[in-house]
């Protein structure tokens, strides 16, 4: 069975706390919709063949790669033999198609494969969640991150995509220039900085909230993936979680190598699945323990902070 995913790369604008709208480049899931940060989240089944069509409405070429997925890229090189794109290019106004098999369950980044230092920073990234065989969205008893025997059954699931925004880069690149030193001043969860992280999902260019709600005793699967260029360290206040997968490789297979952590560092591009039981009623802060990342520019509180509410 083949699932078609149609993506458009477009320019748009995002809102960061305390400043004017900022130009960005992002993916959208339909011709009529605007670009969004991060790109549309897709749910597919393990083993599905994905036929992804990328239509390029940006001023320059772009392309698409998936991280952690086996495929044969079709890189494009310039006259000097240097990479221009890590995969088939879509020219401005044109499109490109990619065929990928979602071979294993987990959370995977899709992102630009063309000049990623500029295009990924501009916002061309999103995630695809691959569901294990047997997963049925209508039947909570089938819900797990990685299927039977992996100890990843959950009642509540949340995907948190970490990112950074260097506003000078955005303005420079949108104006056709070349950026200099990378020095982001905004740090994002699902494309938003606190306090916007705790707002609900909406129809804006930053549609995904990062707030969480659960009842005491519910099993929460927190799926954190780092789309930024820097390392980030998530700390869960009042909760010690079990790390059940790293980079979408489940840790409980023939033996159980899952382990418990209160705070965990993610390198760029990496992901961890953290499983924990919702504690007593109340609010719990989840934040970046790199404490220079809990500000917007210099304003505290901001950046990578969200709240779990147990009621």
């Amino acid at each position: 069975m083949v699932t078609n995913i149609d993506l458009w790369a477009k320019s748009g604008s995002i809102i960061l706390p305390g400043r004017d709208p900022l130009p960005f480049w992002g993916f959208s899931g339909s011709a009529g919709a605007g670009a969004q940060l991060p790109g549309p989240r897709y749910d597919v089944m393990e083993g599905e063949s994905l036929h992804i069509t990328l239509s390029n409405q940006l001023p320059g070429t772009t392309s698409l790669v998936l991280s952690g997925v086996e495929f044969t890229p079709q890189p494009v090189k310039d006259g000097q033999g240097r990479f221009v794109s890590y995969n088939t290019e879509a020219a401005p106004g044109g499109s490109a198609a990619y065929d990928i098999v979602a071979a294993r369950p987990g959370v995977f980044l899709y992102q630009s494969g063309t000049a990623p230092e500029t295009q990924v920073q501009m916002g061309l990234y999103g995630v695809i969640v691959v569901r294990p065989l047997g997963y049925d969205p209508g039947n909570p008893s089938t819900w797990s991150g990685y299927g039977p025997g992996t100890g990843t059954e959950f009642d509540v699931e949340k995907v948190l995509v970490i990112g950074e925004v260097d506003t000078a880069w955005h303005e420079e690149i949108a104006g056709g220039g070349t950026p200099s030193d990378y020095d982001p001043g905004y740090f994002t969860l699902n494309g938003r900085s606190y306090p916007a992280t705790v707002d609900p999902d909406d129809a804006s260019s930053q549609p995904y909230g990062s707030g969480m709600a659960a009842a005491p005793g519910q099993r929460i699967l927190l799926r954190i993936i780092n789309a930024g260029f820097l390392n980030h360290t998530l700390s869960l206040d009042g909760v010690t979680a079990r790390v059940v997968a790293g980079d979408s490789w489940p840790l409980k297979t023939s033996i159980d190598t899952t382990y418990r952590k209160n705070t965990i560092t993610l390198g760029s591009g990496q992901s961890y699945d953290l499983l924990f039981t919702a504690p007593a009623t109340g609010k719990y802060v989840i934040y970046d323990r790199d404490l220079n990342h809990v500000v917007n520019a210099n304003q505290f509180p901001g950046g990578i902070i969200t709240i779990l509410e147990v009621t």
């Binding site: 997925v69 230092e117 920073q121 490789w249 390198g267």
Partner: protein
């Protein structure tokens, strides 16, 4: 068990970045077997990265360090050492920390002795004024082979010994460092550098920045940077990548289209006290300075698979893309001859 005698000269030299800029370095050069009268001709010929040191568990390694001085900085009379980073149960005399043992003065030799105990990927570097000498380029790769290693027998061509699931057909070291242009310029201009101002301008694999990384071993345009960072394999080959980080920053390396399996960390198989197999998969390998990872994959369908730093701002040369820590995995349809040695 073999006796291995290798001799390293410590001296200075110059490296070239893809944008044409030349940088003064300190480093090591292999002078094994060079007649005593000819040793002086290696002054100023430091290599980035330093020569590979390779031995089997049980071998006896006599590594002679000869301090050839710095023709480019005749005012400097720095001593040098070799620190085999990660050697288990080492004694200070052979550990190369000048504050706690001895260093080698200009014009003198010292014999380090090692009898490797555990197989895996290590690194060596000078530990004299280490913040300066490591950044200046005195860094090299080191492989300890398992005792039963036999490259002619597939089941014995392994990273950690037969039965450890680490058989490989080809192996490459992926040696990560950075170059701070000001630090190197200050050195040649005889100025003090404030190391808390450290910033990397060039991000290097095996001593080269992209696109030089994909040039062949011994490319004539890079006389001081002999090691290619291009990974080649035939479809179906088991490939072993030996990651080393001797820079001052953490790096996150990804190969587009090829997930990785971590079979060794810091020259140890990841195993629990009862032999539990704790090896694991990774999509992006996150490596800190002073760490090594042995990572394996099976070469997929023929094609070109880009290797890049997921800290994408590091894929530049002095701020200009493409560059930096980028290379590629070239997979051939069975047409490559067997690999004669690491990175060959």
């Amino acid at each position: 068990m073999a006796i291995i005698e290798q001799r390293l000269g410590a001296t200075d030299g110059w490296v070239k970045m893809p944008d044409g800029n030349l940088f003064y370095i300190m480093g090591f050069v292999d002078i094994t077997g060079v007649p005593e009268t000819a040793v002086v001709s290696y002054r100023g010929k430091a290599r980035l990265i330093a020569p590979l040191v390779e031995a089997k568990v049980g071998d006896e390694v006599y590594l002679t360090l000869t301090n050839l001085g710095f023709p480019g900085r005749p005012d400097l009379d720095d001593s040098h050492t070799v620190h085999w980073h990660g050697f288990p149960n080492q004694i200070p005399l052979y550990d190369g920390v000048p504050e706690a043992s001895v260093a080698v003065r200009v014009g003198r030799d010292f014999d380090y002795y090692y009898k490797p105990l555990d197989p895996g990927t290590y690194m060596y570097h000078c530990h004299f004024e280490p913040v300066e000498h490591i950044q200046m380029g005195m860094v090299g790769p080191l492989i300890a082979r398992p005792r039963d290693y036999d490259p002619g027998v597939p089941a014995l061509k392994t990273a950690y010994g037969s039965g450890t699931g680490t058989e490989f057909a080809r192996e490459y070291f992926v040696f990560l460092t950075e170059l701070d242009a000001r630090a190197h310029e200050f050195m040649v201009l005889v100025q003090e550098y404030d190391w808390s101002e450290y910033r990397a301008d060039y991000y290097l694999i095996n001593g080269r920045a992209y696109p030089d990384t994909v040039k062949d071993n011994g490319d004539p345009s890079l006389p001081s940077q002999p090691f290619s960072a291009r990974i080649k394999a035939n479809t179906g080959d088991r490939v072993l990548l030996r990651f080393v980080n001797l820079g001052y920053q953490q790096h996150a390396i990804e190969i587009v289209g090829i997930p990785l399996h971590v079979a060794g960390v810091d020259a140890q198989r990841p195993v629990g006290l009862n032999g539990e197999d704790l090896s694991y998969g990774k999509n992006v390998l996150y490596v800190a300075p002073g760490q090594t990872y042995d990572v394996m994959f099976t070469a997929p369908a023929p094609g070109t698979y880009p290797l890049y730093n997921r800290n994408c701002h590091k894929n530049m040369n002095a701020g200009v893309a493409p560059g930096g820590m980028v290379s590629e995995v070239a997979v051939h349809p069975g047409t490559l001859p067997p690999q004669p040695g690491p990175n060959a």
